[in-house]
């Protein structure tokens, strides 16, 4: 599959996945804030910003889809042979984190003024990327070590 096609394919799935997950989270948080009898599909600040709560809901769903599209489409960088695992991981991390902040600030999930919230989310992103990076690296390393052992045997058998 060409790189371009791969990006398009992943981005399409990403959009759908993004809208889905965004809507599920919206439903969950709407349920949690339902206690006072009023349905809040989005944060109060976003409802005020968009004026119409329904418009806010739709905009939020679309923006979540866009975020998913960029994040998943962006994961195509892992298929670039010439890029090291580190380069692909860091690039994808930067892309995803930047898009997250743009999305989060737009939807008023967190405020740029609230440094604690911003830092907290950053940590929440760094941890999974570190874990995935480390497990990928260790997995390749163990395969390489096994390959080297078998290579010696293979060449010995030839002679």
């Amino acid at each position: 599959m060409s790189f371009r096609n791969r990006v398009i394919f992943l981005a399409s799935i990403g959009f759908a996945l993004g809208t889905l997950i965004g809507t599920v989270i919206t439903a969950v948080s709407a349920t949690m804030t339902y206690a006072d009898g009023t349905l809040y599909l989005c944060t109060k600040e976003f409802n005020d910003f968009m004026k119409d709560p329904l418009l806010a809901f739709v905009a939020q769903a679309v923006v979540c889809g866009l975020y998913g599209m960029i994040g998943m489409g962006g994961s195509a960088v892992y298929s670039i042979e010439e890029w090291s695992l580190l380069k692909a991981t860091v690039s994808h991390f930067l892309l995803t984190v930047c898009c997250y902040y743009i999305t989060a600030f737009f939807c008023r999930w967190i405020s740029p003024a609230n440094i604690a919230d911003c830092l907290f989310m950053l940590v929440l992103f760094v941890i999974p990327y570190l874990v995935i990076w480390l497990s990928s690296y260790l997995s390749y390393r163990s395969k390489i070590m096994e390959i080297n052992r078998e290579l010696i045997e293979m060449k010995a058998a030839m002679n």
């Binding site: 298929s79 390749y140 395969k143 390489i144 080297n148 293979m154």
Partner: protein
């Protein structure tokens, strides 16, 4: 009119396996094609690879080839101490190479696994290849599985 090739068959008991000698004024592409054709039908091993240094042609035995790789628009091929250029595409060359010996380890390279000393991985996750002559290269992560399968077999 094309150059006519004169074919002489000399029966001699001392040759249990036929020996082919080509007498020619200069080693042209036609001569190279004849050699190539003979290799292909003689059922021995896999075809020798016609390789060039400038205009000079040399036929490389597959056993001597360490790696073949693309460099810009050209396809290069290396033995232990020489680098040549070949006129085929990498994919086309791949078809001629013995699959028990050679493996495509990235979009731009094919290696002779028997000439590889070892593989390694650095902190950036790049998989390195070191050949018996000290030459280094890299393999694509997506080919690790194929490498493992070839070596285990």
């Amino acid at each position: 009119m094309r150059n006519m090739v004169d074919i002489d068959v000399v029966l001699d008991e001392k040759y249990a396996d036929p020996k082919v000698t080509i007498q020619t004024k200069e080693k042209t592409e036609q001569v190279e094609n004849i050699i190539y054709a003979i290799e292909n039908v003689s059922g021995s091993d896999f075809p020798a690879i016609p390789a060039y240094v400038g205009e000079k042609i040399e036929l490389l035995s597959q056993r001597d080839v360490f790696r073949a790789y693309t460099q810009g628009r050209r396809v290069m091929i290396q033995t232990g101490d020489e680098t040549y250029t070949i006129k085929k595409s990498l994919s086309s060359l791949e078809e001629d190479l013995n699959p028990k010996r050679f493996l495509r380890i990235s979009r731009s390279e094919i290696v002779n696994m028997y000439k590889v000393d070892r593989f390694d991985i650095n902190i950036a996750g790049t998989i390195g290849i070191e050949f018996e002559n000290g030459q280094k290269s890299w393999a694509a992560r997506s080919r690790v599985k194929a490498i493992k399968e070839m070596i285990k077999a």
